[in-house]
Each structure stands twice: as C-alpha cells, then as structure tokens.
C-alpha cells in the first residue's frame, strides 16, 4: 500500500511546473513534495494562511504560530508570506493557485467530484475543498482506484458533490486519466495492470488513448 501511494504521489509531482503555486489536501497529497525535482520551484499554499510551506516541524523546533491546514506544526521557506483567511481564499478563488491535489470518494467521467460528505455518517465538513476545486486552475485527484474493490470512478456520482465538472486529471495506482470532452481518456497504464483490469475496476467507460504510455513507478 505504501508503494502504491508513493507511486501515485510521484506521478502527481510530474504534473507540477516550475513556478507553480500548489495546494495539497491532507493524506496522500502531502507525500507529493518529496518527489518534486530539485530544479523546479513550487510554492505550496496552505489555505489556513500562507504560501511557502516547507515541511513538518521536528519535535522541539515547532513554532506554535505556524500550523498547516491539517493542524500539524510545519516549517516555512524564506519566501513565506502569511495572510488572513479572506486573502487566502481570494488567492484560491481568484485563480492564483495553479493546481490543487486532493483525494476523492467519487469522481464522475465528466469531472464531477464528491469528497466531503457521506450522508448519515459522522459530520466532517468541506473546509476549503469547495473553494479549492472551483478556484484552482487545475484539479488533480490523487487516490486509490477503488474503495474495498468498489469503483470510485463512475458515470455519475451518487454522493453530494463538492463541485461540478472541476476535475482535470485522475491519478491512481492503475494509471492516469484525463477528463476530456469525449470522455475519460487513459493516457498512462501501469504495467501491473491490463486495460481490461483497469476497465473492470472503473464504473464508467474508459477511452484508451492511441498514445497510451506505461505509468512509471
């Protein structure tokens, strides 16, 4: 499982460009920075109030005024800038965040996303997710392909949506899929899986690109 998550995080890192501002959701997306190449400058936006997150703070070196959006004490880069919540979400809604990387409960082939609530279960809330997927220029979903064997990529989401038609790219342990006008196009397939296996684990029709490439580990 750890290998699968690392594979997904490593592939997400390839989607980032020099100069990008990026927001990372909790969980798997927080593994992405370790795979960003040294020669690329990416600035991480933490929606609770700063740009320029570096890494988790070591014990004894925490600054109690600096947490990330998951509540962990973190360190910042020399180019850090701190701001209030209205400014933080102005940066998001205004399209100044180039990419947001999030997990999902369900994604539909048209890019609809559901990742904030399961009716009847414990209440959590959307936090900044609805603003992020609406406002960021690119929405990258990084997740395991299925949940206990059940497809998470579907023709239509059955859970309440986080936003409509917001997802651009889905990266799982099986491959890479892009949301395009003609449907969900697989651009990379991991060598551990066949096209048939990937299709069987998916709840909507996949279109395999004529330029299909192998997904690297």
């Amino acid at each position: 499982m750890a290998d699968i998550k690392a594979r997904i995080a490593k592939r997400v890192a390839k989607e980032l460009h020099d100069g990008d501002a990026v927001n990372l959701g909790i969980g798997l997306p927080t593994m992405v920075p370790q795979f960003i190449p040294e020669d690329i400058m990416v600035t991480i936006h933490s929606e609770n109030g700063f740009t320029g997150l570096d890494s988790m703070a070591e014990d004894g070196k925490q600054d109690v005024d600096v947490i990330d959006s998951g509540g962990s004490y973190v360190t910042t880069l020399p180019r850090v800038n701190f701001f209030d919540t209205a400014t933080s979400f102005g940066i998001i809604r205004g399209g100044h965040v180039d990419a947001t990387v999030l997990g999902a409960m369900q994604v539909a082939e048209n890019g609809d996303l559901a990742n904030w609530i399961i009716p009847g279960k414990k209440v959590a809330g959307m936090g900044g997710a609805m603003d992020l997927v609406e406002g960021a220029k690119e929405c990258i979903i990084a997740m395991t392909h299925t949940q206990k064997g059940n497809p998470k990529i579907l023709e239509k989401c059955t859970l309440p949506l986080t936003a409509e038609k917001c997802v651009n790219i889905i990266i799982t342990e099986m491959g890479v899929m892009e949301v395009r006008p003609e449907g969900l196009v697989v651009t990379e397939l991991h060598p551990d899986f066949t096209k048939e296996e990937m299709q069987a684990a998916t709840g909507c029709k996949l279109i395999f690109s004529p330029d299909l490439k192998p997904m690297e580990d």
């Binding site: 109030g49 700063f50 925490q62 959006s69 919540t85 209205a86 809604r93 959307m126 609805m130």
Partner: protein, 240 residues
C-alpha cells in the same frame, strides 16, 4: 488618555444567553484563550458560535497535545453552544457527540465563503457572489438562518449569492496590540482574526503583548483600533 484595556471578565460581562458570537482561530491556533476561559467562568448558555471549526478537545492534536481544550473547544466542553456555523467539524470529537445527543446543531459553510460572509458584514456589503458551492448542497440547502439560497447570473456566469454574517460579539486574538486596539496577529494566527474585527456589535481583542500608543512602527499593525471596542492583555503563547 485612550485606554481600551479591561479584564477578560469585564470584556465578556455583556454576553447573554442565546447571543451569537464569532471566534478567531483555526483548529485552536489564533484563538483568544483567555476570553474563552472568561466565557466558561461566566457560564453563558445557548450560544450560536461562528468560527472555522470546533477548536480542539483536550489532548488534541496528536503531534502536540494540549493540556486543555482549545478555542471553541472550551465552549463545547461546557455545553455552552446550541448552534455552530463553521467550515469543518470533523476534528473535535465533542461536536459529533453533541450532534448525536441532539444538544447541538450546525450549519456548514465553505471556508472561503465563511470568510467572505463575515467580511461582508464587517465592510457593509449586502452579500457576496461566489461560484463556490454551485451544484452542491450549498445551493439547494437553506442558510444558517433558514433562508433559501439564491443564484444570480452576471454576464452569463452563474454565482451563488451569500448573505453577510454578523454577530453580537467578535472575540479575536492579537500577538501585538496597543491601548487603542490597533493590532496584528503573527504568522498563521491571522486566519479569521482580521476579518472578524468589525463584523460584530462588540469586538474584543485578547493580546499576547500590549504596547503603549505610539511606541512601535505603525506599519506593523494590520487592523485599526477603530474596529476594536475592548482590549484584554495576558493572552498566553500556546505551550506544547
């Protein structure tokens, strides 16, 4: 001489049962702890509380356990809240316990929309138009006061209309404040503190450090003292 400095107990003396209050902070970081303690001492009940989340319970978070609940978590611990308006309610376990036993209800608002609703109340706007929440329950469910949501199309683009969110009291945390109430909040403690200062009838700022008027470079202050009614000194730095 201008001096808005009073004690924490004096600052919360006017808070009555059933009032609506807003509290700065994000998972406790940037919350005015001495004002929450004073509200607990006063024992006020049936509050509606506006904040990002439910603060923290005792022993949270795992990577730096607090010895007491934190922020709004203190009010929840003492069952002082009837309704919470927030963007995230998954962290403090007291929230779901009180939803389950029927003593607490909630309204979820996306984080950016929550900040803008508060900002609209602060800055005299009739509301805000946002694309956030379109096509989701935010569009179809009623707002915090049971009002239907509206959508507006501007130049062919659809937006959700969100009303201002105002409170009787706003409780904010400063790192540095002068006796007039000019203040700043350090690093990631800013969160809602700047936007809430002015969005309530009565604004109270608890500060870590209090300075005399005119003794620091005025450029350091982010919020004008005209937005602030009372200042309370002695807000501790959080200990982990």
């Amino acid at each position: 001489m201008i001096n808005k400095v009073i004690t924490a107990d004096e600052a919360v003396a006017g808070v009555k049962d059933g009032m609506t209050i807003m509290v700065g902070g994000f998972l406790g970081t940037g919350s005015p702890e001495i004002l929450m303690d004073a509200l607990v001492r006063k024992g006020v009940k049936h509050l509606t509380v506006i904040g990002n989340d439910g603060g923290l319970a005792e022993g949270q978070p795992a990577n730096g356990p607090g010895k007491t609940p934190r922020g709004i978590g203190k009010l929840l611990e003492h069952h002082m809240v009837d309704h919470i308006i927030a963007s995230h309610l998954g962290v403090n376990p007291r929230l779901n316990e009180q939803f389950a036993d029927g003593t607490l209800t909630y309204t979820l608002v996306p984080q950016g929309t929550l900040a803008e609703k508060i900002r609209a109340a602060n800055y005299g706007l009739g509301g805000v138009l946002t694309p956030t929440g379109l096509g989701t329950p935010m569009e179809t469910e009623k707002d915090e006061l049971g009002r239907e949501k509206k959508t507006v199309v501007i130049d062919g683009k659809k937006f959700l209309f969100e009303r201002p969110l105002h409170a009787d009291y706003a409780f904010c945390r400063a790192s540095l404040c002068d006796r007039f109430g000019n203040f700043m909040s350090a690093k990631a403690t800013k969160n809602y503190n700047y936007v809430m200062a002015g969005a309530a009838d009565h604004v109270v700022v608890a500060t870590e450090k209090l300075v005399e008027i005119g003794t620091v470079d005025p450029d350091i202050f982010a919020v004008s003292g005209v937005m602030v009614n009372d200042v309370v000194e002695g807000e501790p730095k959080w200990q982990i």
